[in-house]
């Protein structure tokens, strides 16, 4: 058994080394951008997966936490000159606080109430921000361009720092997700997801653990919003808190495997570059990308609900791959 584990550690080190060396290769800006967005959506999807996949509570309002992260850091910088790094933490804290108040009444009830209030919250927040001039309203926030520095979280001459920051965030998120999955809370969440009534009758405070999962998930989603704001330097409700964004957040986890740690990353590695190429070559066609994503969503949940990792893990091929790469 330990031999296999060594293989896995070895393969993870190789993967990490590749990720670290990649931007040192002569990549064109399009490629670098595609990889950064792959990591970005992998991170957001992994964060969503903690409440949707680990706990089985389908939040359809995570775009709001993304938006809260983007707006909090941007406004703190523009109004008070606070560095986006502090803004990132503030955004995460605010997202956790709001998720507490949304989850508290709704997670006691059947899953449908939670789905309804999260999607309603997300859409209403978007509509409110669109009409709220204090936060930029329908004009959005054009972020002031600052000199390249870590303090300002802006890099114009050489975009590679963005890559390393996003990679670092993703690695932290992977470590947190893995730790949760292997912890007591992770097992409680799996028990709740698989049979809520059985979990409850065995004395588990199910509302509490669902709420913890939701808050962690929200707090991990907001920093991606901050990164997005620093990277794109434009914050607009229809970009950072819209239903299409929700789709980009959830689809990597669904395709890769709900409730797995590696699934969202694998899903993002397949979906995001494909979507970027579709956008580049068929960019002018309105709605094309989302039709494609909608079809993928319906087909995957109907035909392969465990996703790639979840389905592969149960096959002979998956077991032999699992010796080398951890399919957690």
């Amino acid at each position: 058994m330990s031999g296999m584990t060594n293989f896995r550690i070895f393969s993870n080190i190789i993967l990490l080394a590749v990720a670290l060396i990649l931007p040192l290769l002569p990549l064109d800006p399009f490629m670098l951008n595609a990889i950064i967005f792959t990591f970005l959506y992998a991170h957001a999807s992994l964060a969503w997966n903690i409440v949707a996949g680990f706990a089985g509570q389908f939040s359809l309002g995570h775009m709001a936490f993304f938006g809260i992260g983007a707006y909090t850091s941007s406004l703190l910088f523009i109004w008070y000159g606070v560095t986006p790094w502090i803004g990132m933490l503030a955004g995460a804290g605010l997202a956790a606080l709001i998720s507490f108040f949304i989850g508290l009444p709704s997670l006691r009830l059947k899953g449908h109430y939670f789905v309804l209030i999260t999607i309603a919250f997300g859409e209403i927040l978007r509509l409110t921000f669109l009409n709220w001039d204090l936060v930029g309203g329908s004009i959005g926030i054009w972020y002031p361009v600052m000199p390249d520095s870590l303090y300002y979280f802006q890099f114009h001459d050489d975009r590679r720092p963005y890559y390393y920051i996003m990679l670092g965030m993703l690695l932290v998120n992977l470590a947190i997700a893995y730790a949760i999955k292997r912890s007591r809370i992770g097992y409680f969440l799996a028990a709740i997801r698989d049979d809520e009534i059985a979990a409850q009758t065995s004395g588990l405070n199910i509302a509490k653990y669902k709420l913890i999962a939701f808050m962690i998930s929200a707090a991990l989603t907001a920093p991606v919003g901050t990164f997005y704001a620093q990277y794109v330097l434009f914050v607009y409700p229809d970009d950072v808190m819209s239903i299409p964004l929700m789709v980009y957040i959830m689809l990597p986890a669904i395709v890769g495997g709900l409730g797995t740690v590696s699934g969202p990353l694998i899903g993002a590695l397949i979906l995001v570059p494909t979507a970027e190429y579709v956008r580049a070559y068929m960019g002018g066609v309105a709605g094309m990308q989302l039709i494609m994503y909608g079809v993928i969503l319906v087909l995957v949940v109907l035909i392969m609900p465990r996703g790639l990792v979840g389905s592969l893990r149960r096959t002979k091929l998956g077991m032999s791959i699992g010796k080398y790469i951890s399919l957690v």
């Binding site: 006691r108 449908h112 309804l116 409110t128 309105a286 709605g287 094309m288 909608g294 949940v301």
Partner: protein, 294 residues
Amino acid sequence: MVEPSILAQALINGLLLGGIYSLVSVGLTLIYGVMDIVNFAHGAFMMLSMYLTFWLFVLFGVHPLISLPIAFIVFFAAGMAVQRTIIQRALEGPMAAQMLVTFGLLLIIENSALFSWSALVRTISVDYSNLTFFLGSISISAPRLIAFIAAIIASLLLHLFLTKTDLGLAIRATAQNREAARLAGINIKFIYSIAFGLGLGLVAIAGNLVATFYYITPSAGTPFLLAAFVVAVLGGLGNYVGALFGGLIIGIVESMAGTFLLPAIRQLVYLAVFYIILVTKPEGLLGKTFERKA
């Protein structure tokens, strides 16, 4: 001091809007009550019905009131087909499929509409489009009044159907207890497809009715869907009588908020209502008539 005529005007506007909300919500909550599925594509189907009404009017000169029964029949049939081919599979699948399949449909439908017809805003102008009645100083627009009356009639017809016919009884029995209904010889799959067809038929009527005074765009169904979520929870998820009254209440609340607070925060009021209901009375204002026991 609030001007009484402004108050009355806001009340009337809200009531007329609420009738449409009722009709949209009744379909949503009927589908939920019978098969435990939240139809996220409900607003998207409403939008499709608006376009059906628009194209029938523009291409063939069919008056919107004549295309009303056409919309109902087309969407009833489409609903049965969608239930048979997609929703039934999701019902037999895991939780993720049940929660997310209609969300996928919403994406496909809305973006196919955007793809086919662009984001261009379209309107239908009929003979009574600009007609307005006056009750003292209160103005009532004719298309909105017609829509309200038709919506209430449709909701009442549904009530008669569900309470007075054998098929209606079988639908209510299935909603109350799936297993007992099956044991009593009811074909559950057939009931599911009828319920989904009815839900879409009702929202198609709503789409047809608002097409005469509302902007027709691929995302036109979204505000109605949001309102319907709040109404369905207010009335008790699965309780169609509750949805009928809930729709009128939410219409009035929205109109009051738009008139006396800020138009921009109309929808924020939904969230407040939603939240208060969840905290104080999650079973809805009227309690449940569809109590699931299995």
